[in-house]
């Protein structure tokens, strides 16, 4: 595959190819539908023979996330992927990474829950991803791709952000974007960092001190309350910095919109179709698509809420992001939610009907 080739592939396959191309050092994962093509594609591509990237099928999700802790602690660009119940198993390790300030990429191709749930698409892990599924006061950066192209593009972006802030980053996708095949242009090849580059760029990493520098300790444990408080204050200051710098979103047709739909990932694609059908009927609707779910675009939604008659939050769940939308809107305009659970993906027609009925729109 030459650079700039337009290819047709699944979102899961795009993630695997992008990982190899963006200088990823290691992948550790365990198969689970609907994301198994990530591991399958990596195994088929055999990057250990070309870039030297390690690809390892771990014995469990718990093992995978702890391998991520080890690799990230050594300053390596490492990733894992799973689907909802598997990501639930990883939460302890993610909290440890957040506490120890270890960068790494976790991909969650969501399926319906709770528990073992179903293998069909869902966005039911929004709370888990954006609220920190483990213990303690922490956040991770969460990016929500809505196209196969973004599945590819967000791999390198996640690593850049994860290392910039020493924080785990998550790509929160779902069974629709993981399984759909679309056009994609893969990112250009970027070499893996050399040992010297890792030592220079990650002075905190446990790279082996060779008697030359003080010991780097990678841990989330601190038994002195005062020291632990200082560490927490440091983490909170870092989160404030991320909130200030890294909010990302996309707007479509919001300039003249009377109504706003807020949707992320695959739901935003379904919403786009609903919006073009609604506009064909003369109903002016716009879309705000959060790209970062944490940090969340509260400010922009607050601004837009002053211009519209109502907001529909559309998610493939029982209503999770709608809580963040309500926090942003603070009652300035009516906010409602539409979604489905159990692995059922709503159609554009259902979104259209909900918007019209809830806001009593008649022509």
């Amino acid at each position: 595959m030459a650079n700039n080739d337009i290819l047709l592939m699944k979102g899961n396959e795009a993630i695997a190819h992008a990982a190899i191309r963006c200088g990823c050092d290691g992948y550790f994962g365990y198969p689970i539908t609907p994301q198994s093509e990530i591991l399958e594609t990596l195994a088929a591509q055999k990057p250990w023979e070309t870039t030297g990237m390690v690809v390892l099928q771990a014995e469990s999700e718990v093992a995978s996330i702890n391998m991520l802790y080890g690799g990230g602690g050594a300053g390596k660009r490492v990733m894992t992927s799973s689907s909802s119940p598997g990501v639930a198993l990883m939460q302890e390790g993610i909290a440890y990474m957040a506490g120890a300030e270890i960068p790494g990429l976790i991909v969650n191709v969501q399926r319906g829950g709770p528990g073992l749930g179903t293998i069909q698409p869902s966005q039911g892990d929004y709370f888990q991803a954006t609220r920190g599924g483990g213990n303690g006061d922490y956040y991770i950066i969460v990016l929500a791709p809505s196209t196969v192209q973004e599945m590819a593009d967000f791999v390198d972006l996640s690593f850049e952000l994860a290392f910039k802030y020493r924080i785990p980053a998550m790509i929160l996708s779902d069974g629709v974007i993981g399984q759909v095949m679309e056009k994609v242009t893969l990112p250009p090849f970027k070499p893996r960092r050399t040992d010297e580059e890792v030592i220079a760029q990650c002075p905190w990493a446990s790279t082996g001190r060779k008697g030359m520098r003080p010991i780097n300790v990678i841990t989330s444990l601190e038994l002195r309350p005062e020291a632990m408080e200082q560490h927490n204050l440091h983490l909170q200051a870092k989160y404030a910095e991320i909130r200030k710098n890294e909010v990302r979103y996309e707007e479509l047709q919001t300039e003249d919109a009377d109504y706003l739909i807020v949707a992320f990932g695959s739901a935003a694609r379904i919403a786009q179709k609903a919006i073009s059908d609604l506009r064909a009927e003369g109903i002016r609707v716009g879309l705000l698509r959060p790209i970062t779910l944490w940090p969340f675009p509260y400010d922009r939604i607050r601004e837009l809420s002053q211009k519209v008659r109502g907001i529909l939050t559309f998610e493939i769940n029982a209503g999770q992001m709608v809580e963040d939308v309500r926090l942003a809107v603070e009652g300035r305009t009516p906010v409602t939610h539409y979604g489905k659970m159990g692995g059922i993906v709503p159609t554009p027609d259902e979104v259209i009907a909900t918007l019209k009925n809830h806001f009593s729109i008649t022509l």
């Binding site: 095949m181 554009p348 027609d349």
Partner: protein, 180 residues
């Protein structure tokens, strides 16, 4: 132009690969495409379907509830998708898998006896390409040369000797499809 297509039948009939070849062919022509399988605990003999959208413009939703064209290869698929065809749309079905023929009068209905033709040709695996040939005859969508280009591009070299048999199946499908 946007064409929203559902292809549905039994697992093992080549439903997903037919959709994939159609999608690749549209890609060869520089069109926007999306291929969305109904994935699940699928198995040979179970049901399989795929939504393929081909458009001159950026595709919004890969999931739709109304289709311009339905390619139906068994009875359960007919029962499920016949009501979801847009008025004026197209329904193509293989007579072999259908015991209760379609009833709608506001759509264009075509039959293609691809299972029988595949058996006659001694090429049972060519079944889905015969159906694809019929679809292309009725709906245009992509040029047969681009289908062959897509096959050359996506099949590993060791399978390229099968391309002439696939071409034959495509052309046979174009001949045998009939309006009901």
């Amino acid at each position: 132009m946007t064409e929203e297509i559902i292809i549905s039948g039994f697992g093992g009939q080549g439903v997903l690969s037919m959709g994939k070849i159609l999608a690749y062919s549209a890609l060869v022509e520089g069109k926007e495409v999306s291929w969305m399988p109904a994935y699940g605990p699928e198995q040979r003999g179970g049901t399989a379907n795929v939504t393929v959208i081909i458009s001159d413009e950026r595709i919004s939703s890969p999931i739709v509830s109304q289709f311009d064209t339905a390619v139906i290869l068994n009875q359960p698929s007919l029962e499920r998708f016949e009501p979801q065809i847009k008025p004026g749309g197209t329904l193509i079905y293989d007579g072999y898998g259908i015991s209760e023929p379609p009833k709608r009068t506001d759509i264009n209905i075509y039959e293609i006896d691809a299972m029988d033709a595949a058996a006659e040709m001694g090429n049972p695996k060519g079944f889905n390409m015969i159906v694809l040939g019929g679809l292309l005859k009725i709906r245009g969508l992509v040029n047969i040369d681009d289908v062959l280009a897509a096959l050359r591009k996506t099949l590993p070299e060791r399978h390229h000797h099968l391309i002439p048999a696939n071409e034959e199946a495509l052309r046979r499908g174009m001949e045998i499809i009939t309006r009901k």
